[in-house]
Amino acid sequence: MNRDLSQTNEPAKSDSERNDFYNSLISEVGSAGKIEVARDSVSEPVIRSWCDAMSESNPLYINQDFANDSKHGRIIAPPAMLQVWTMSGLHLGNQFQRNTEDSPSAGVYQLLDEAGFTGVVATNATYHYDEVIKPGDLISASQKLLDISEEKTTAIGVGHFVTTETIYSDASGKQVGSMEFRVLKFKPGTGKKNEQAEQKPPRPKPASNSSTDWFWDACNNKELRIQSCNDCKNLQHPPAVRCLSCGSVLLDSITTSGKGSLHSWAIAHYPQVPAFDYPLIVGLVELEEGVRLVSNITDVEPEELEIGMPLEVHWLDVDNEFTLHQFKPIHDEKQESEIENTETNNNNQTFNGDQNNSETKSEQRHVSKLDPETVQIGDELPNSPVPITTLLIVSTALATRDYQDVHHDPKAAQSKGMPDIFMNILTSAGIVSRWINDWAGPEIDWNSIDLRLGTPNHPDDTMTLSGSVTEKTEHGNQISLVISFLGKNDRGVHVSGNAKILLPENSKEA
């Protein structure tokens, strides 16, 4: 159902109609679905795909030798994959068929869909990890509908919160973990935030012709190219049809370093064009190669602008077919080193969904452990900025076997009331777990994690993770920690919550 239909053509419901509808919904509460057995047993390839997408490099999940020497004696599945194993997977043609028949939440979702609550976002998840899951385990899930809220007005729309509990078991029937999961089923187009986002048209695309298409094509490949003369090596911008220095027709282009400095700037406040956010910083960037171009300056406050400040290019995917260069300040190394360093690895390391970088990244990550003696309440985890890209959102959705269209299809996401595709909650859990593993070391045991989701992560967002130790408990030789965390993007808090981990018993000797 599209937004206009749900918003305007549907007659307003009376209170009694609304009550009847709600009563029909809550009559489903308490119902349990039959046991859902995973189609496939836990396997290393699926684990590796998940680790690739999440940039998880814990050797316990991917390195046979390391895992063999560990207390587990073999590779184990990341606990954050708990939910993945019984995901229904891809059903082309009728992708909800399986759910509709089997799970109690699906029946409620269908009722809500029919009533116009077609949008869906996950809002909370709490995972308890009871047993380590290993390749070969066959996981089954049993879902129970815990609660359906009355109609609520939320930022993204009017809707009902649906809470379920799922118990995961292995083939012997032993419980390996559980999940309490809450989603908001909402009417697209009924939220304030959402209306603004939907009305936001794309930026003006550059007018171009066959003399300049190469420049924008290069941008789409995230390459900043400048016209060059094959005869006299002159560089020029904007492109021309002759060399402006020697008149040659033998024009080519070079790839620039993408680095430069701020030559001048303007901060637009008015008039405001809906495609942009204001105040809008536009800079004249002088590239290292000596040529200037106009771009946006991002990641900087207006009062921090300084002519001559060093800048580097980054890229904005405006839509599927159009990528635009942007520039941001290069922070000098001195500033970087001021960020507090601990013995552990990956301080302030940029998480990157780009597969090409993941190998380098994992090489940089050293296998290390926290010292259980010195870690204390109040210790902060290193901040970790996570650039959210379309690639990251889509690859993690697929790696978590989540084929909901809102995680890969922008049009579908828009029709369901979101401005663009957004990251799924399994990925939020996966990334937070990865970050905590990076900090605490590979051989920690995971007890539980709970997440509350707020502002969605869309392409071009950067989510910065931060957190600290809020509890430290000693049980004999074993120490457990609770880490409270926060992942914020430019629009607000994407995720917050707590994770409980157990530090390895032998880590004192290590």
């Binding site: 930026r203 003006p204 695309k205 550059p206 007018a207 171009s208 012709n209 003399s211 300049t212 924008w216 020029q236 911008h237 904007p238 402006l244 030559h263 001048s264 700037w265 303007a266 901060i267 637009a268 406040h269 008015y270 008039p271 064009v273 495609a275 942009f276 105040p279 809008l280 536009v282 004249l284 040529v291 200037r292 171009l293 106009v294 771009s295 946006n296 207006p302 002519i307 405006v318 635009l324």
Partner: protein, 392 residues
């Protein structure tokens, strides 16, 4: 480059509509009214007009204006590109046509509803997608939100401030002077509405470093000017405003509004080219100018113009302004009609009319003993300038 017809032609008629934010009539009505007023002022019948020169953005084409004015035939007509930068160029090309013999009486005009119809400063966000060269130039700026004339000028302003040390208050001095003159000009949109420097500083940002009061406001209105030979002018009722020289300029790596790729973007080389021609053709220099109309669609670019004409050294316009030199009792009273900022934004044509009044001695803010008046046209585009002189 030099013109050898210095002082062979003159402006003999000026005419304008009222300046407003909503004229309540069509731009064609404004154009015809302004031309009729200029002809009446000159004491010349429309049937004598045989040339029309206007400039781009003008939507009232010369043939339709001629039809309405019952001008029987046109032997010279042209439209100069680049909008406000061409204002003085229209007078130069009219003078050239008259000197060459291709016309005897040439009307130059601008008329529009750039406020009540399509707002001129609202931005080019919808102007993209074409493959023609001019459309493509917007591709280098529009996707980044640099969409309005104010935003294009702001980029120059920041650089100029950085290199010269000029401040927003220095820009404000231009606005305060303009509005001061406008306050005593009944024809000005801002008649009796002067501003203070504090009000300038407190006005909201449009595009930093430009405040609201650094920007002229779109206007509805029309202004027409009639040019003929000095010989004929001497037989007409008004004292001739002799066209001592008029010049156009476009220079290295010139772009429309966004010449950001030159070595020094704090300068206006195309205005320097105009200045060089004017001084050369007339033998005059900065100290020979008693009154000026310096284009002020946005205050920042007022400053480097003073420098290009040599009224002060490069980077020293701020001191020139701080010393009060553009005020009535200063070295160079400027924009005595209120300028584009205070009287109306008629793309510079009203500034030429004010220079004519200063030569005739009929300005509401008349400067004493005016021999020569300088007028400049729109900056950051290919531009133009002229000097009007007394007939001796």
């Amino acid at each position: 480059m030099s013109t050898n017809f210095s002082s062979e032609t003159a402006i003999v008629g000026i005419g304008a509509t009222e300046f407003s934010k909503n004229s309540g009539r069509t731009p064609m009505e404004l154009a015809v009214e302004a031309c009729e007023a200029a002809l009446e002022d000159a004491g010349v019948a429309a049937s004598n007009v045989d040339g029309i020169v206007t400039f781009s953005s003008e939507q009232n084409f010369e043939i339709e204006v001629a039809r309405n004015l019952r001008i029987p035939s046109l032997s010279h007509f042209s439209m100069i590109p680049h909008g406000g930068g061409a204002a003085c160029g229209t007078i130069g090309q009219a003078a050239s046509a008259i000197f060459s013999g291709s016309a005897n009486y040439v009307l130059c005009y601008r008329a529009f509803n750039e406020r009540s119809w399509h707002r001129f400063g609202s931005g080019v966000q919808d102007k993209h997608g074409g493959a023609e060269a001019f459309d493509v130039t917007f591709g280098w700026t529009s996707p980044f939100g640099l969409l309005t004339p104010a935003s294009w000028v702001a980029m120059f302003a920041t650089r100029y401030m950085h290199l010269s040390g000029a401040t927003s208050e220095d820009f404000g001095r231009v606005a305060v002077t303009d509005r001061g003159f406008a306050a005593t000009n009944p024809a000005a949109f801002f008649y009796e509405r002067p501003i203070t420097l504090e009000e300038h500083q407190e006005s909201r940002w449009i595009v930093e470093p430009l405040h609201l009061l650094d920007c002229c406001q779109e206007s509805d209105g029309g202004q027409a000017i009639l040019v003929t030979s000095l010989e004929r002018a001497r037989d007409l009722p008004n004292p001739p405003a002799v066209i001592a020289s008029a010049a156009q300029g476009a220079t290295d790596d010139q772009q429309a509004m966004r010449s950001y790729y030159r070595d020094d973007i704090s300068r206006i080389p195309e205005m320097k080219l105009c200045a060089d021609q004017l001084w050369k053709n007339t033998g005059l220099g900065p100290s020979d100018i008693q009154v000026a109309n310096i284009y002020d669609h946005f205050t920042p670019l007022f400053l480097p113009q003073l420098e290009e004409f040599g009224f002060c050294e490069k980077g020293e316009a701020k001191e020139f302004l701080r010393d009060g030199n553009i005020e009535m009792d200063g070295l160079l009273p400027t924009n005595t009609n209120g300028g584009q900022l205070g009287e109306a934004y008629i793309h510079g044509m009203n500034g030429i009319a004010e220079a004519v009044r200063q030569i005739r001695g009929t300005s509401v803010n008349q400067v004493e003993n005016v021999e020569n008046a300088l007028v400049t046209a729109g900056t950051s585009v290919p531009t133009s300038a002229l000097i009007l002189s007394q007939d001796h």
